[in-house]
Amino acid sequence: MKTPHRLWLGTALIGLTLLALPFALAYAGTAWVRIANFAILYILLALGLNIVVGFAGLLDLGYVAFYAVGAYTYALLASPHFDLHLPFWVIVPIGAALAAFFGLLLGAPTLKLRGDYLAIVTLGFGEIVRIFLNNLSRPVNITNGPQGVTGIDPFRIDGFDFAQYQTLLGLQFSGPIKYYYLLLAVVIAVIVINLRLQNSRIGRAWEAIREDEIAASAMGINTRNVKLLAFAMGASFGGLAGGMFSAMQAFISPESFVLVESIMVVSMVVLGGMGNVWGVILGALLLSFVPEILRWTVQPLQEALLGRQLVDPEVIRMLIFGLALVLVMLFRPAGLLPSAVRKRELTGQAA
């Protein structure tokens, strides 16, 4: 039994660790700070998708489309491509809203479909968005096609530039470290929103729909609107993450928004535990860090043992994703950290 006192102590410890983490990682190399940033970005995406898949029970395989919408919105409105340089606090909300709009656009005609059909349609939607990004360079150059958009502005508030190296209070802040703190703040806000959502009126409505749509509508829930809301909300988190990705990378191309990315985020949600915020975070962290750790261990190991690189780390990463999906479904269908309700449902007792 946790006493409030110990809870506060635990929170403070975790908080301090998170604050100190980028400096510890920077010792190992800036690459690791970047990896941590991407892990947080994936947590954002996974939490957004969790609203759709975990809370409302709608399998969305085209989630990356919303990520792309956010990223391209930011890239086009803050880069030399159109010579627009709007400030980020204007564009990021626009990107999130546009992504939510796309979520509605996709959701409206498809939500009456059964789960597996919905999955395929969303997948098709994701591919359509990618094909358009790839080809909307002619006859009017909007997305710059496969070359992507370069020279995207970093986040900037007055003189404070997130991409620049700076010494503050005697500590050296590199670009990635600054983004780390920004991302951390955003992700904490999103976690709080998610936790609050789960037990809200809407959250319970989602859960009811997931469990039994007919019963839910009999209880007076407007299933269509509530499902659309899940889609739009999930999408807006995707758009938010996309905007941050764009600013952080300063370069985006359709290559970053392929089907595999969608599947990766789905894997994170499924592995961690659909519907459980902490589970999803765990899933995102595991699937972001384990492949990187493998990249740093397996490759030297291969070269030491065999003298050459036999297996590409990228392949190992994908094999892990595939295996994780299959094994989790076979042996622990509710994920590593299951949500109580979801566990009951996925282990088949209340099917």
Partner: protein, 327 residues
């Protein structure tokens, strides 16, 4: 008119391959209501195995037909084994689980197969060796090659064979019975597990042949080819009415035609300068000639558009019973 006939021929060729792949989806769906996401990867493995064999045999000077036949003969058992193992290891344990679980497993199997194939064959494209002499025949303004003719013929034969199997043999009867109600079929003495495994194996064998045909048609095979082909074939199956065998055949051919005609005409149709009043509005931009909004590089979009439109307006497909909204 020439474009029309030519695209008709091209669409028919691609469509008949889609139809054979779609059969694999529809048979499995009809019997256990699972979208076997990994079926596209089975097709890919079929093409890769066959291409490896064909490339090895090409310098021996055997007749091209024999080379392709041996290649296909090697691909079929490999694919059957893959199909059987995925059913046995990944799907069977989940048969009574809620439907999201097998679907997610299927996605996992698909990623696994795709990247295992990459381990085996690397990222490189396998090319079809130059062993077949392409002869074209002219057919009322359109040309059709011997390869296209062969592909259409093989696909028709496969579909006919499958129809015979399903509607005329004991196994086919057992399959149809299991599709209607597995429990009752079991009570009637049908070995349900065996029938389901057989469905996977037959679908995989069809997929293997389709993979060889598709690869031969386009001249290349790569570890990524399965996902987009699989999606298109799935769209075809849905178009025809998923679970319905004649529907998959019809859907495949139709999808091929839609895609080919769409790609053939979208450029002309979306050329803003072809429309008088818009051309006037555009003024000097049209003096150069064309202002094409969407070119044939949007070809892949058609399959998805068809899929979305069918699911929204007629979820049961053209020939299927209404299933799209069953909970």
């Amino acid at each position: 008119m020439d474009t029309f006939l030519q695209q008709l021929v091209n669409g028919l060729t691609a469509g008949s391959v889609y139809a054979v792949v779609a059969l694999g989806y529809t048979m499995v769906y009809g019997i256990i209501q699972l979208i076997n996401f990994a079926h596209g990867e089975v097709v890919m493995i079929g093409a890769m195995v066959a291409f490896t064999v064909i490339n090895a045999l090409a310098p021996t000077g055997l007749s091209p037909l024999a080379v392709v036949l041996v290649g296909t003969a090697c691909a079929i058992p490999v694919c059957m084994l893959v199909g059987y193992s995925m059913e046995r290891l990944a799907y069977r344990p989940l048969r009574s689980a809620p439907r999201l679980a097998p679907l997610i497993t299927a996605i996992g199997v698909s990623i696994l197969l795709q990247h295992l194939a990459m381990l085996v064959w690397s990222r490189n494209v396998l090319a079809f060796p130059q062993i077949i002499d392409n002869t074209s025949y002219t057919l009322g303004g359109a040309s059709i090659t011997n390869v296209q003719l062969a592909i259409i013929a093989v696909c028709v034969a496969l579909m006919g064979g499958l129809a015979l199997l399903v509607y005329r043999t004991q196994l086919g009867t057992a399959m149809r019975a299991t599709a209607q109600n597995p429990h009752v079929a079991g009570l009637m003495g049908v070995d349900v597990n065996r029938v389901i495994a057989a469905t996977f194996v037959i679908g995989a064998a069809l997929g293997a042949v389709a993979g060889v045909l598709y690869g031969t048609y386009y001249g290349v095979a790569q570890y990524t080819m399965g996902s987009i082909l699989g999606l298109k074939a799935f769209s075809a199956a849905v178009l025809g009415g998923i679970g319905n065998i004649p529907g998959a055949m019809l859907g495949g051919v139709l999808l091929g035609l839609v895609e080919a005609l769409g790609a053939g005409y979208i450029g002309d149709l979306s050329d803003l300068c072809a429309y008088g009043w818009i051309a006037d509005l555009m003024g000097e931009q049209c003096e150069a000639g064309h202002f094409i909004l969407f070119g044939s590089n949007y070809q892949d979009v058609f399959a998805f558009l068809v899929l979305i439109l069918v699911l929204v307006f007629r979820p049961s497909g053209l020939l299927g019973e209404r299933v799209g909204d069953r909970a």
